[in-house]
């Protein structure tokens, strides 16, 4: 009859768990789900990463193409992130053009890239005013079980770390560019932004890394993105229950701790594939 | 375009017609077997097809049904190859939506819709080749199709366009005459009662000339009426001959 209670009165069901300081999946309020990352599994992409956060699965593939730099900043390249929430990942999404959540997530990722300076766009320029790299970062959610922003940010970062770009030179005489597909160089990753999301329950209780169910029942969410120096690359609280400044500070502190764990994981995974 | 002479000093138009002369009108009813009514018309090089379905039960949402009359539903579309430059979409663009609305208004005025409450009549017209007067050809074709479908109308609806060049009203404009940018009037007329079902004017025209132009257009409508009437009579005779004995 527990399932019946859960379907009929989901919020009440949840509150009973929270009273005991635990969650229905057995986690404590401040506990993250198991996080795994798999790098370079998509060989058709120039860089890729598959991130799992519990059940939530996100894949990011980076494809590099060449284009003329933007007119207003001829010494820069482009990073074009897009988050897709296909109907495959959850019944809540319909097939067709991206909905509000996907659009908002794309914008969030774009903001994180811009705010954190994860990559200097100047690094992507090959010939001033003539040729620059465009990095298309397509982030696709495969299994939607909450906390898509953390998973997407993580997938983006690890996929970018996996990118190998072919060497390009511009021939002075002909003005044509020459691509050497054999010689590949990694990207320079300047910063490592890591996102940490919280759900707010009944206006006061903060839980980390919410599942889809928890997100639906929560009265609000907050996402904090920090880099390795503890600077905030994004504070994103799209409405919902009000929080005091102190609570917000609490979130930031926890986000800084989380950053260290995630960074450790990234280093480990990168190292594990290095020897090849 | 300014260099093009629309009306020569001798009073001939670019395609050799006189000012009040119509292009050759040829028409046929009952082109398709599956539709309730259908017709095809050629006015010079403008060719249009019209089919009518209904009156039938409301399709789609029933909430659109009108309790005291039939809903007239139209769609105007142009074959992608009908114009000299290929069109990307047959319908759904702004121009077609406007035409669709015009057709709907025209035929709501002519069909005795109160005879079929809560039902729907579909009129679909298709321009196969466009050479000026698309709206008019569509109205004329649709009139024949409605008659073919056996739906009671107050009267025929006949449409024709008219322009005004060098102080002379021109009837039944062709594409180049339309494209010259001068004033043009599209008139849909119920010829016996001389009631106007729809009148639309583009560009500028001095008020003093309006009457002449409308006069020219309505004369043209009546001329079209004569042709359509003959087509209908021939068709009816043919059909009844088949039915009889």
């Amino acid at each position: 009859m527990a399932t019946a209670f859960k379907t009929v009165e989901p919020l009440e069901y949840y509150r009973r768990f929270l009273k005991e300081n635990c969650r229905p999946d057995g986690r404590e309020l401040g506990e993250f789900r198991a996080t795994t990352v798999n790098i370079g599994s998509i060989t058709t992409a120039d860089g890729s990463a598959l991130v799992k956060l519990g059940n939530t699965t996100v894949i990011c593939g980076v494809k590099a193409e060449l284009a003329a730099p933007p007119v207003d900043s001829p010494n820069k390249g482009y990073i074009v992130p897009n988050v897709e929430l296909p109907s495959l990942c959850s019944t809540r999404f319909r097939p067709g053009p991206p909905g509000e959540e996907a659009q908002a997530a794309s914008q969030f990722i774009a903001d994180v890239i811009e705010n954190s300076q994860i990559i200097e766009k100047e690094d992507l320029c090959i010939a001033n005013g003539k040729l620059a790299w465009v990095l298309y970062c397509d982030i696709i959610c495969l299994d939607y079980d909450g906390n898509i922003l953390d998973a997407s940010t993580f997938a983006l970062l690890t996929a970018l770390k996996n990118v190998q770009l072919p060497a390009v030179t511009v021939n002075e005489e002909t003005g044509l560019s020459e691509v050497n597909l054999k010689q590949k160089n990694p990207l320079i990753i300047r910063k490592h932004p890591v996102a940490t999301s919280f759900a707010i329950f009944d206006d006061t209780l903060l839980i980390v890394d919410p599942t889809a169910e928890e997100e639906d029942l929560a009265t609000g969410t907050v996402t904090i993105v920090t880099d390795e120096e503890g600077r905030l690359c994004s504070v994103h609280k799209p409405g919902g229950s009000p929080l005091t400044g102190a609570k917000l500070q609490d979130c930031i502190t926890r986000a800084v701790t989380r950053h260290k764990e995630v960074k450790k994981l990234i280093d480990k995974v990168i190292k594990s594939i290095q020897p090849k | 375009m300014a260099a093009l002479e629309l009306l020569s000093d001798e009073g001939y138009r670019a395609d050799g017609r006189r000012a009040a002369e119509l292009r050759k009108v040829r028409a046929r009813m009952g082109v398709f077997a599956q539709a309730d009514g259908s017709a095809y018309i050629e006015q010079g090089n403008t060719k249009a097809l019209a089919v009518v379905y209904g009156p039938h039960e409301m399709r789609g949402s029933r909430s659109k049904a009108l309790h005291d009359r039939a809903l007239v539903n139209c769609q105007y579309s142009m074959a992608t190859f009908s114009t000299s430059e290929r069109k990307r979409r047959p319908h759904g663009d702004r121009k077609s939506s406007e035409m669709t609305l015009h057709l709907k208004q025209t035929f709501e005025a002519a069909i005795l819709t109160q005879l079929y409450p809560r039902s729907q009549i579909d009129i679909y017209v298709q321009i196969l080749q466009a050479d000026g007067g698309n709206y008019c050809a569509c109205v004329n074709a649709a009139t024949l199709a409605v008659i073919d479908a056996g739906i009671p109308m107050r009267d025929y609806v006949c449409a024709s366009s008219a322009g005004f060049v060098e102080d002379t009203p021109l009837a039944d404009l062709s594409y180049i005459e339309e494209a010259s940018g001068g004033p043009q009037v599209a008139l849909a007329l119920l010829p016996t009662s001389e009631q106007i079902a729809l009148l639309e004017m583009n560009s500028r025209l001095h008020e003093d000339h309006l009457e002449e132009v409308i006069e020219a257009a309505s004369k043209a409508c009546k001329a079209v009426h004569a042709v359509l009437d003959q087509v209908v009579r021939d068709h009816v005779q043919e059909v009844t001959a088949l039915l009889g004995d």
Binding site: V80, E100, E101, Q103, A104, S106, Q107, F108, A110, D111, E114, N115, S116, Q117, T219, G220, V222, D227, G230, R231, L232, C233, S234, V235, H236, K237, P238, G239, G240, S241, P242, L243, T244, G245, L248, Q249, I252, T253 | -
Partner: protein
Amino acid sequence: MATAEEEEDGGGGGGCCLRPFSCEQGLLSRPDGSAAFIQGDTSVLAGLYGPGEVKGSKELPDQAALEVLLRPKVGLPAVTPRLGRGGGAQREQLIRRTCEAVLLGALHPRTAVTLVLQVLSDIGSLLSCCLNAACLGLLDAGLPLASLFCGVTCALRPDGRLLLDPTARQEQEARAVLTFAIDSADGKVLAATAKGSCSAEELQQCLAAAQRAAATIFRFYRDSLRRKYSKW
């Protein structure tokens, strides 16, 4: 028409004060509630429809369904490729969720409330202006609210100084721009979003400044409402 003149700082909001702001309520006749909010040279017009009939799939069994449409001055509402501006869907989501947090939607279950925000001019601090217009729109429509909210934008200059209600140029020059939605009950944060990076201390400073500014704005809300109802 109500105006509040804060200590003016030549050209735009300088230091810890806001640009001159004003509002006008009930200026449209078709919507159930409307308000224009002008903040320096940035102005947003809000129109509110509802609670009204809801379209099938959007219906919520125990809540009013709120829809927020943010119409830019030109072009289509969209995620624009030029970063720093736009992000239509994300802003719509933020404004909607902020309104949902204060709107007592349970009092109007199975209805729809639509908030249309039309940007009239954008010379900086657009999001906060949208939030303010939204709140006044909700008020003008007479919808039951748990509390009020206001939006405050805060910029951090490269030299580390803090700047409230920046103009577009000041936003561009700034190292970071933070926007908060503050609720009137006890000055808590309803929404927050940031461009650029800053430290946690700086965030707290900005928040404190925003909370102080919010008090001014709430006073202004109160005054303009008093003026509105005293006319009757």
